[in-house]
């Protein structure tokens, strides 16, 4: 009997460690897209929905992209009709919740694009989370926000 209990706890421990996933594994990325920048406009935004299946909050702390010289996390603050764009240190994705990166709000800012974007191109973005894990996202370039985006 004692022996069986031992085996059971070993099994539980093994399976528990198998479920100790990284933040990158727990986050699912939905509908990523990059806005086609106007000619000569040196920066553009990348948008997506980040879902967190974990029971703890996960923070997106950085983003990198080979398409831009600088990639930052940004937010817009609307202060009485004045839009203020600011770099932010992190985007929190609540336990069991989601964070929506969308125009006029949170976005990954691609600054100083290395080459002009074209509609239909795909931009690679690497998202870095607070536990050090990272996730690669392929975001298609679109001129207009895809239908139904953000309506989740």
């Amino acid at each position: 009997m004692k022996h069986k209990q031992w085996m059971l706890s070993i099994c539980l421990a093994v399976s528990a460690s198998a479920f100790a996933q990284t933040a990158a594994e727990r986050i699912t990325v939905q509908d990523p897209w990059v806005r086609l920048n106007a000619p000569g406009a040196p920066a553009t935004g990348a948008f997506m929905v980040l879902r967190n299946a974990a029971s703890t909050e996960i923070r997106l702390v950085k983003a990198e992209s080979p398409a831009a010289k600088v990639t930052e996390l940004h937010d817009h603050i609307n202060e009485g009709g004045v839009f203020k764009m600011r770099a932010i240190p992190a985007v929190a994705i609540k336990a069991g919740g989601e964070a929506t990166l969308k125009p006029g709000s949170l976005h990954v800012m691609l600054i100083d694009l290395k080459s002009p974007l074209k509609e239909g191109d795909t931009v690679q973005i690497t998202l870095g989370f607070d536990d050090g894990s990272s996730k690669k996202v392929e975001a298609p370039v679109k001129k207009v926000m895809p239908e139904g985006h953000g309506k989740h």
């Binding site: 000569g40 817009h76 009709g81 004045v82 764009m85 006029g104």
Partner: protein
């Protein structure tokens, strides 16, 4: 607590007046809290552009800057979508003008290319910083250049309303950022003659 009949009637009357007052405020024409607006002269890659030149057309006016990665493109994409909802005859009666509040960075050729990317009916324009300031003040536009980062990049905080000017050069409507293309198209049609 015991209120006399008269007190209750008085309270009811005051409440009714407040309610009516609020309703009247809500129904007040948009014109009531509209900035002065008025004529302006700016420059485009194709030459000078004065609001007087656009008499007879409904003008859809926006103040922004081309380095703006999100707010301005969102607005201009909605203008393009609104223009697509108009018939060719209606579109002929409309002029879209994008005035850059960042003349230090936004050259005229660049503004032309930028505006055309969104819609051929959209003109990109700017003027000297002093002139822009004067126009912005009359239209109730606020903008403030932010400190530059190590590479000299800077953002410009700005209001993002859209202005509609009728065929006689009067500022007749102001739409908040995020106005749907349908709303913009309806407003443009409303002021057409």
């Amino acid at each position: 607590m015991n209120f006399s009949r008269a007190t209750l009637i008085t309270i009811a009357a005051i409440l009714a007046m407040v309610l009516l007052g609020l309703l009247a405020l809500g129904k007040a024409p948009l014109r009531a809290n509209m900035p002065a607006g008025g004529d302006f002269a700016v420059r485009t890659a194709d030459g000078p552009l004065a609001l007087q030149d656009l008499r007879g057309k409904v003008v859809l006016l926006y103040f922004g800057y081309t380095y703006c990665p999100d707010i301005c493109p969102t607005a201009l994409l909605s203008y393009a979508a609104a223009f697509r909802k108009l018939s060719p005859q209606e579109l002929e009666k409309v002029a879209g003008v994008f005035i850059s509040v960042d003349p230090e960075r936004d050259s005229l050729p660049h503004l032309k290319e930028y505006a055309r990317f969104f819609h051929p009916h959209l003109q990109g324009a700017t003027a000297s910083p002093t002139e822009i300031q004067e126009i912005a003040r009359r239209y109730g536009v606020f903008y403030a250049r932010q400190p530059a980062d190590a590479s000299g990049r800077y953002a410009v905080d700005h209001t993002a309303d859209s202005y509609i000017i009728d065929g006689e050069g009067r500022l007749v409507a102001r739409l908040p950022h995020g106005a749907m293309p349908e709303t913009i198209a309806d407003e443009l049609k409303r002021w057409m003659r």
